[in-house]
Subunit: 214 residues, 2 copies
DNA sequence: CGATAATTTGACCGCTTGGTAAAACATTAC
DNA sequence: GTAATGTTTTACCAAGCGGTCAAATTATCG
């Protein structure tokens, strides 16, 4: 019998690990470009260089692949926020959070778009994760920000909307990449826009949040 | 013969106008929730309360419906930016631009998501519009902002990234609505989050862009 | 009214889709 | 080796898809 599919008890062969990785890599391409419904198993199998039944030997359904990817992405997506340090200096914490998120948009645009696709279409597969772990983490960090505001280190502001605005401005460069490129024009062939964006966003958030002493 | 489809020379019957409107309304629902590939003609026909062939009598293809919608949305989507007035006071212009965009996110979330879906998936249907009319308008307004900065009315900053950041922060409340709700929790049953968002964003951008005299 | 044009329907088509069955092939364990 | 297990392929569904067709129905106009 052959009932390995996702490893029954233990991940056995190295071939399994390899193939699963190849599938997930291909699936990231396809899902991030077409969304869940727009992606087809054939496309993914093709991109992974294997036949459809072969692919379905490792992941029983299209949803299984998607779940795997989403879980992984959700974890790394939250990393920068986790690193947010209550003990640190507010200004440099916010600055490095922005930098980190921008780097993710630059280096992992597919991951960002996969996530965006999912949320945009109502997050049918990850509602629980959003309401659970995500909310908890944000609640925790919002409290940190609020404390900073209370102690006068930054201006008083709604911490949730602050977090939202950092998310949205940074991810914009991954999710709306085509639009950004179209507007900026050809001259922006390189990755210079990320440096410019970093400069602008740091200025905006640092100055916008600086405690007003007057 | 019956070759009206989208009105040969002139829009004839009132019934045509009505049905087309119903179809577009239904299609907006379906496309904005599932993206182009994820949406099916049957779904749209169902939502519009008519049979598939009947729908196809008014729009020959799925793409035709989509194009119609996109064109319409792109126009209204740009309205607020068009209203951006070079003669006005920078602070109040930016403030009202943010307000307008937030109102659009609140009142026309489907339109925003339709657009987001399209851009997210590489804008296959509207690349030309992005590189043409959109870029031109943004270029024009960027010059306005740059002039403001030169004359010291606001701080020096990259006008393109400023526009991007206003787009992203405001649309976030439409496009990532599920996530916003999940994080803010049940208590945010009403539309209060839009007021809070407006307060936060106005503060952020106004203070962040205020000319520094020191 | 009757004729003509506009609208709607049901039946259908060819293709794609997610997924299966079973057998062929490869690998490992003894 | 050979037997057991793991992997891949070929052939195949049944359902869903975008779209067509011709006939039936309804509205419009003289």
């Amino acid at each position: 019998m052959a009932i390995p599919r996702a490893a029954k008890t233990q991940r056995r062969t190295r071939i399994q690990e390899e193939k699963e990785e190849r599938i997930l890599e291909a699936a990231l391409d396809v899902f991030s470009q077409n969304g869940f419904r727009g992606a087809t198993i054939d496309q993914i199998a093709d991109a992974a260089g294997m036949s459809k039944p072969n692919l379905l030997y490792y992941f029983r359904t299209k949803e299984a692949i998607h779940r795997h990817l989403i879980d992984r992405v959700l974890f790394t997506w939250l990393e920068p926020l986790r690193a947010f340090d209550a003990e640190g200096n507010p200004e440099s914490e916010i600055r490095s959070y922005i930098r980190r998120k921008l780097e993710m948009a630059r280096d992992f645009p597919r991951e960002s778009r996969l996530f965006a696709n999912e949320v945009l279409q109502g997050a049918p597969h990850i509602e629980d994760e959003l309401k659970g772990p995500l909310k908890e983490l944000v609640d925790e960090k919002a409290e940190v920000i609020r404390a900073w505001a209370r102690s006068g280190k930054i201006t008083k502001c709604d911490p949730y909307h602050l977090i939202f605005s950092i998310w949205s401005t940074t991810q914009h460069y991954a999710d709306f990449d085509v639009q950004v490129r179209a507007v900026l024009g050809q001259d922006y062939a390189g990755e210079g826009r990320f440096e410019d964006a970093a400069r602008f966003l740091e200025q905006l958030f640092i100055d916008g949040l600086r405690a007003r002493n007057a």
